[in-house]
Amino acid sequence: MCVALPGKVVSVEGKKALVDFSGNQVNAYTGLVNVNPGDYVLVHAGCVIQSMKQQEAEEILELMGEIDS
C-alpha cells in the first residue's frame, strides 16, 4: 500500500504540480514538499511525499521500466 512512483515535475500551479511519469502526466498535490519545475519527486496516493536526487531518480525510473515490461 506504500507504493510510490518517481516522476518529474513539469509545472506547478497553486497547490498542485503536473508530474510526468514516463510520458503519463498526472496532477499531484504539493502540500508536503516544496517543488519546482524540473524536480524529480516521489508521488504516493496523489501527493508528492518527497523530492529525489536526480541521478538516483533516473536509476529508479530505469528499474521501474524493467519491472513494468
Binding site: 500500500m1 506504500c2 508536503l32 496516493a45 496523489g46 501527493c47 511525499i49 521501474m64
Partner: protein
Amino acid sequence: MRTMEDIASYLREYDGRTLKLMEVCGSHTAAISKFGIRGMLSPKIRLVSGPGCPVCVTPSAYIDRLLELAKEKDTCVVTFGDMLRVPGSRGSLSAARGEGASVEMVYSPLDTLKLAAENSGITYVFAAVGFETTAPVYTLLLEEAIRGGFTNIRLLTALKTMPQAIRNLMQEGGEIDGFLAPGHVCAVIGSDAFLPLAKEFQIPFAVSGFGDRELLLAIYGLVRMAKEREAAVKNFYPSVVTPQGNLIAKKKLETYFMPCDAVWRGMGNIPLSGLLLKDAYKRYDAGSASLIEDKKLNHGCRCDKILTGKLMPQECPLFGRSCTPGSPQGACMVSYEGSCYQNYLSDGGNA
C-alpha cells in the same frame, strides 16, 4: 565487493550463522516474491515477512463499521481499491457494494473533495488506512476540508506506526537478526527513526528501495551488519530517504494526529502504535477510537504467527486448502501485499 555480481555471489554462497531477516513493508513482500529474491540467497539467509501490509493488519471491527456506514442513508464510504475485498465478520465492501451499499473507489484521498463538493447532501467517509507513508496525505485532505468549509467529509482512521510494532514484535520474542526497513515509511519519518530500536535490541536495519538490485544491495548490507553484530541503521535508498525524513509531513502529522493504542489484526493491541485525530479535529472523525474488536474468521488461522515471522505461510494448516486468494480465511491471504497471498502466487498453493 563492488559489482552487483560480487554481491549476488556473496549472498548465494554465504555460509555463516543462519540469519532470519524480516521485511516490514508489503511492497517489499510483493517485490521479493516477484523477483524471486529468496531463490537467490543461501539457505542460511532466511527472509520472513512481518506486519507490513496496513490492509492485512486492520481489525475486523473496522471493516464492519465501514460496512455499516456504507449502508447508512446519505452516507458514502470512499476507499482505495485495496480495502474492497477485505472481509469483516459480515462480508466485504465489495460484496456490500454489489448489494447496493454506497462505496466509491478513488486513487487519492484528495479526490474526496470533488465528490463532497458535487453532492453536499451526502457525507463522505474516507477509509483512512495506512502507515506513516499515507498518513500525511490525510492531513492534506483535512486542510482542504477545513479551508473549503466542508461539513460532509469524515475520516474513519486505522492508521498505524511501524517502530512501535517492531518493538512489540521483538519484545514478544521475535528472534529476528535484522530488519529491511520500509523505504517509503522512511521517506516520511527518516531512517533515524529506527536507531533507538537498533540500539535497544542490538540488531541492524537496512533501508531498502523496491527494485531487485536495490533489495539485494540492502540484504547484502544487512547480512554484513548482522555478521559483525553491528547495531546500526544503514540507508540503501538514499535517493529519497534522509536521516530526518520529510519535516513538513512530520509537522503536519503532529498537528492533526496523536499517538493511540491500536489493534493489529492477528497481533492484538500494541500500545501507542496508532494515530488518532486530535480532539480539535474530532468533528472530522467517524468514530475510529472504538473499533478494537478483532474476530478470527477461522480458528485454524495462524496469521498471528505468520505476521510475526514465527511461521511461514506454508506451515499454516489452512494455507492452500480452505484459505486461498479466492476465499481468504485470514488477513495475510487477503491483500496482494500479504505474505500468504504472495507465497500462494509463487508456489501455486502447494501446502
